[in-house]
Symmetry: C2
Subunit: 382 residues, 2 copies
């Protein structure tokens, strides 16, 4: 087992065993413990189904070549694309049963409504992601559609629409500002950011999946911390945990096949799906601002990529590093403005495997920083 | 304009103008009238988008040749496939806004929950239908997946689980039998039947779409009749109308391109989508038994096809009639057991256009028969 595997698996183990501990010892909730155990079966389902479905994607011509291995025999293989549909479908199926659990457990149809609305948004974005993988949709659709997909969540959202102002602004503007409809536009922006930021921070084996697992585990631990601290909104955090748990297990199943050297690629389907899951739990869990603290590498990547995304600087089709066949290492490409090339610039050439490992460490460190800002930094400002 | 067009358009006009009349004069509900007007814009959206999206499906290799025109120049054209994704996507987007309407209008999150659950089931089946078009999934997935997709509707279903017994059985068994969990299995069977029955009664230009429009208009008129008669369950019928209205307009937009001679094919996506819409409104509208009265041709087709579907008799890949290049007419193929071949057997060879027209007349006649059974026949038995 490689260091990267150890890091990923221990993150998942930490997050899920904390959940088990909390629900068993603190809440005596055997029903939720059962839910956790049942979610873990989605890992097996994904593990079992990917080899079956990858034959279909190959037959349908949905495959790609590994650009980072160009010039080697591995670079000539046809690697099945868009396998993100497998965990995404299993996730949706699991949550369809999960809606029943929400409905029975919380004895209120509003929770079930929120859960269902979240799933509708997620299911719609999976469909669009798959369409994108098959058709390669133009950008104007890609930017518009996540906004439309977010409508059900926004309808179901029953939280506040005001924001707390930082201490230094309070003498002038008061403690709160009620944003009203602007708050809904802000939530739409969160959805657009989440669905696209995973997608543009990609390009080396396993990166989309590993960053998603770390973000998901951070979200799970944040929810538990809030419940532990006895903050309000128990329901919102519970629904958020309920959605993120099967996500973690499904994605872990995909990780097995997608880690370096990738046997399958994940496609836009995966990136949209995972982004929408994060946005959904953030909004329905009422922590859409805290959510962004677990996206620090994605925010950095977005800011650094901004001039190219906006076409202020010419933007190539792929913005990958350069693969040096002789040293078998990836090297920076100065004109490709993204975090991967920036990291290689600072760190020097690295093999694809080491690069992914170090980016996982970066993601975990940024999550720890996020927790620090949330629980220490925030007190200084708010 | 051809007779078939006139029949389809007058059915839609009758159904929608009755809705307008009912909500404006009887209920003074301007909000719903506005909803009706806004739904009609989905027609324009589908009409505008199909030519744009058909380029993508052609590029992705999703096209077919028209088997019923084999041997003619038209039979050699590459006709874009799976264009059912366009009305289906626009339908989902419209209903995402529609959920907001349900939520505000009925001031109860249970109605919005039902609406959302219905959309989740429909969205999931659209995704599966599209996967089927791209991958050509084996039968074992096709049979299983609609059952899974139906779970959200079943969770949201808050109706009775008993059935009224026919008069002649009452002395022995009482007036009602409570089926409990069996009633849920029965509803799953309705979903499986609806999603597959449109798909297997297909094979000539425009048939999937025209049968769906007639069934949808019949459902709309049935809902209105029940509301008119002042039966209970106003909410259930309203939600059912709300879902079926944009369906009718979306499908009418597709009809324009799919009618004889087809410029686009609809794909399994369309058949699954329309079947699931019918099952959803039937279940959430609490009239899943009456619903089947609008499926008489589909039931006949299913019963007649049964030996071949179960592989008791060998079943070819396509069960189309034989196209006679000289007479330009379709002729029966005795070994293909479906309603199309049965009809040609009784009626003699027909051109594809006339065959579709007559099958539309058959569908309309069966709907009228269905109404007759519901309002006269049923009183004799129940």
């Amino acid at each position: 087992m490689q260091l990267q595997d150890v890091l990923i698996h221990s993150s998942v183990l930490l997050a899920t065993s904390s959940t088990a501990y909390y629900y068993y010892y603190k809440l005596q909730s055997l029903a939720f413990l059962l839910y956790l155990v049942v979610s873990s079966t989605t890992y097996l389902a994904v593990f079992y189904m990917i080899p079956k479905i990858k034959k279909f994607t190959l037959n349908a011509g949905l495959y790609g070549k590994d650009i980072n291995k160009k010039g080697t025999p591995e670079g000539e293989l046809q690697i099945p694309e868009t396998l993100g549909i497998v965990p995404a479908t299993i996730f949706i199926i699991f949550n369809m049963v999960g809606v029943l659990y929400s409905y029975k457990q919380h004895s209120t149809s509003h929770i079930a409504f929120e859960h269902c609305a979240g799933m509708l948004s997620i299911c719609f974005i999976i469909f669009l992601g798959f369409c994108d993988d098959v058709f390669d949709l133009p950008w104007r659709y890609k930017i518009l559609l996540p906004n439309l997909a977010s409508l059900p969540i926004l309808v179901a959202y029953e939280g506040v629409t005001h924001v707390v102002l930082p201490i230094f602004l309070r003498p002038y503007l008061g403690n709160y500002v009620n944003l009203g409809i602007l708050y809904y536009l802000y939530m739409m922006a969160v959805v657009t950011f989440c669905t696209n930021s995973i997608n543009i921070y990609a390009g080396i084996n396993g990166l989309e999946v590993t960053q998603s697992i770390i973000i998901a585990c951070s979200i799970l631990l944040y929810n538990l911390t809030e419940l532990w601290l006895g903050e309000q909104q128990t329901f919102s955090h519970t629904i958020s945990i309920q959605i993120i748990l099967p996500f973690i297990f499904c994605t872990l199943g995909l990780y097995y096949y997608n880690k370096y050297p990738s046997q399958v690629f994940v496609g836009d389907t995966f990136c949209y799906w995972s982004g929408m899951v994060f946005a959904t739990v953030g909004i329905l869990g009422h922590f859409s601002k805290t959510l962004l603290l677990f996206f620090i590498p994605q925010i950095l990547n977005f800011v650094y990529s901004f001039p190219q995304l906006m076409k202020i600087i010419p933007c190539p089709r792929h913005r990958l590093p350069y693969y040096n066949v002789e040293t078998k290492k990836l090297e920076k490409v100065k004109t490709n403005l993204n975090l991967i090339n920036l990291y290689l610039w600072i760190r020097g050439p690295l093999s694809e495997k080491d690069l992914c490992k170090e980016l996982v460490i970066l993601q975990i460190s940024c999550s720890i920083l996020g927790f620090f800002i949330r629980y220490y930094g925030a007190h200084l400002m708010f």
